[in-house]
């Protein structure tokens, strides 16, 4: 052994707290999730595309120079040109304005539908999970039966009945059973959390049930809820376009992407551009929301936390 100076063998005061210092910086759950999302290029790209689509839906009909209902018998079925960027339809209406006007309707339906079913589903699932026992049992039986009725059938039937084809009645048709999936998911999450001890602690301290639901349970289901909303938006957009396609949706001169596609479909072989633009918009929007949803799910999954 080589010679080592004797003073090296002096005792050193060890602060065990130093030992617990972690090498990697501590960041909060939401910051970590955002960081992970940022690295997901596909998700960020989707976010940008969606942002652009929304912006265009707002300003599109304004910058085109034409009104979306403006009929021009002299320019029927024109292909895209410098005057009509997307061409015109069978009544001579400018397709550029119509596509973006339709975008407003489709996107609003998508987002509103998703939000309504998210809110209703969360409240329902939350109550079921919180009270548990018989209440939970009955509530979930109802959901199970509603859930087993094929969604599109319900939508079709209700649309036939309400017949007014306004935005409101469409939303009712779309969300009538749409919230069931969310309710089940939220209930499942909450049951998991509820069994954890800090909830029991709050109850023992006498916190009111409503407060417990709002303060503790709901924030912790937020992450799965966000992902779920992001996936259901494209579903609602699709359902709306499906309805319009079979003739039950938005009526002219109002329009949605689905309605545009439906009208264009018959003469599609002759005027492909009439179907192309609304179709592209639907596909792009649904695609972006789905990819964003995938990215959000990966980013918010606490098990993947690094």
């Amino acid at each position: 052994m080589e010679a080592i100076p004797k003073d090296k063998f002096r005792r050193v005061e060890i602060d065990s707290k130093e030992a617990e210092k972690m090498a990697r910086p501590q960041i909060s759950y939401w910051q970590d999730a955002w960081r992970r999302l940022k690295t997901n290029k596909v998700a960020i790209l989707s976010l940008i595309i969606l942002f652009l689509i929304v912006i265009m839906s707002i300003i599109g009909p304004i910058i085109s120079g034409y009104e979306y209902e403006e009929v021009d018998p002299k320019s029927l079925n024109q292909p895209p040109s410098s005057e009509h960027w997307f061409g015109t339809d069978e009544l001579g209406r400018d397709l550029f304005s119509r596509v973006w006007q339709a975008g407003r309707v489709s996107i609003i339906i998508g987002i509103t539908g998703a939000l309504i079913s998210a809110i209703v589903g969360t409240i329902y699932g939350g109550i079921a999970a919180y009270f548990g026992g018989k209440v939970d049992n009955i509530m979930m039986r109802i959901v199970e039966i509603l859930y087993s009725i094929p969604y599109l059938l319900v939508v079709i039937l209700v649309s036939i009945v309400t017949d007014s084809k306004s935005l409101g009645s469409m939303l009712i048709a779309l969300t009538l059973t749409g919230w069931c999936g969310t309710a089940r998911m939220v209930r499942g999450q909450m049951l998991q959390i509820k069994s954890q001890e800090y909830i029991m602690a709050a109850e023992t301290l006498g916190v009111k049930p409503s407060k417990i639901i709002i303060r503790h349970l709901i924030p912790n289901v937020l992450n799965v809820l966000i992902v779920s909303i992001s996936f259901s938006i494209p579903n609602y957009i699709f359902s709306e376009s499906f309805l319009s396609f079979i003739g039950l949706g938005i009526q002219p001169p109002n329009t949605s992407w689905g309605a545009l596609a439906s009208a264009a479909q018959q003469k599609f072989i002759f005027y492909p551009y009439q179907l192309f633009f609304p179709g592209l918009m639907i596909a792009l929007t649904m695609l972006s929301f789905t990819l964003l949803g995938d990215g959000l799910r990966d980013a918010l999954d606490p098990r993947l936390r690094e």
Partner: protein
């Protein structure tokens, strides 16, 4: 296991009953005269006769009772309002043969190709086969069927003139519709299978199998696939439902005289008896499909099939 099946059957019947009831009452709650389109040119007496014939002069509850009786004892769904004399049941069954053909082809294609692609994607995770399969799958799930169908139609019938645009009769008429309809199940199964395989690969028992010296082929077939495929069976029911609703669109685009396009026509015509009849038929198919799926799952998953009897 037996109890499980019985429970499922009861659920199925209950759901069917509820759907039928709801549909019936919904249709009858629509304001207006169901025979309005006919009534314009007919004298009062004839109209009254028609009313009597359809039982529309009776209170709704009575009509409901008669309806249920007819359906469950004779399978008689009544007569079309639009085309008097046309039996709903007969029309439904005839047209469903057409839809069924395309539907069965599409779902078979969907399952086989979808599951295979999903397995490939999982085994080659994060390499090019994975990205390719996932790309196709994403498209299939998010791009609406009418767009895919229109694209297919344009490419293969107009641009390349390989297949007939619309119509029905031969094998070649079924090719494009089947492909268009199969896109969605292929995509769904591929995605689902991929995530299941990935989950199974990370399980402890796969490590055990490796530690035993099990070769790659046996590892994949006996250990990974057997476990990964279980949850995939559960989505079979909803997939079949999707095929049927997808058919509404596909049939219209390709001009196929199937149940889907007939359904849409009845909706637009407000042919209520037809609507009720077809809806009940669809609902029956959906719930039976769900039932078959549930039973199938119970058979395949040993945890349900063989009940738990700890020492």
């Amino acid at each position: 296991m037996g109890r499980y099946i019985v429970k499922r059957i009861i659920y199925m019947l209950l759901t069917l009953f509820i759907i039928t009831t709801i549909t019936f009452f919904l249709m009858h709650s629509i304001p207006g005269d169901p025979l309005a389109h006919m009534a314009k040119n007919l004298p009062e007496q004839v109209k009254a006769n028609y009313y009597k014939k359809y039982g529309l002069d009776q209170p709704v509850i009575v009509q409901y009772g008669k309806f249920l009786k007819n359906v469950f004892t004779e399978g008689n769904l009544g007569e079309s309002l639009r085309y008097p004399g046309r039996s709903v049941t007969e029309t439904v069954l005839n047209n469903s043969k057409v839809s069924g053909r395309v539907g069965v082809q599409a779902i078979s294609l969907g399952i086989v190709i979808g599951i295979t692609l999903g397995i490939i994607a999982a085994l080659f995770r994060n390499k090019w086969p994975d990205y390719l399969v996932m790309f196709i799958a994403i498209l299939g799930v998010t791009v609406p069927s009418f767009i895919i169908a229109s694209l297919l139609q344009y490419t293969f019938t107009v641009k390349f003139q390989l297949l007939p645009t619309t119509g029905w009769g031969d094998m070649k008429h079924t090719i494009l519709p089947t492909i268009a309809l199969a896109f969605s199940p292929i995509a769904t199964y591929a995605r689902y299978m991929r995530s299941n395989v990935l989950e199974v690969i990370n399980q402890d028992y796969i490590l055990t199998a490796q530690a035993k010296g099990v070769g790659t082929f046996s590892l994949i077939t006996k250990h990974i696939l057997r476990n990964a495929i279980l949850p995939v069976i559960t989505i079979l029911g909803p997939q079949i439902a999707g095929i049927f609703t997808g058919s509404f669109v596909i049939e219209r685009i390709f001009g196929i005289p199937g149940l889907g396009s007939y359904y849409i026509t009845s909706i637009n015509d407000r042919d209520y008896t037809m609507i009720i009849g077809t809806t009940v038929f669809y609902a029956a198919i959906f719930v039976v499909a769900q039932l078959v799926t549930d039973i199938l799952y119970g058979i395949v998953d040993p945890r349900i099939r063989v009940s738990n009897d700890n020492e």
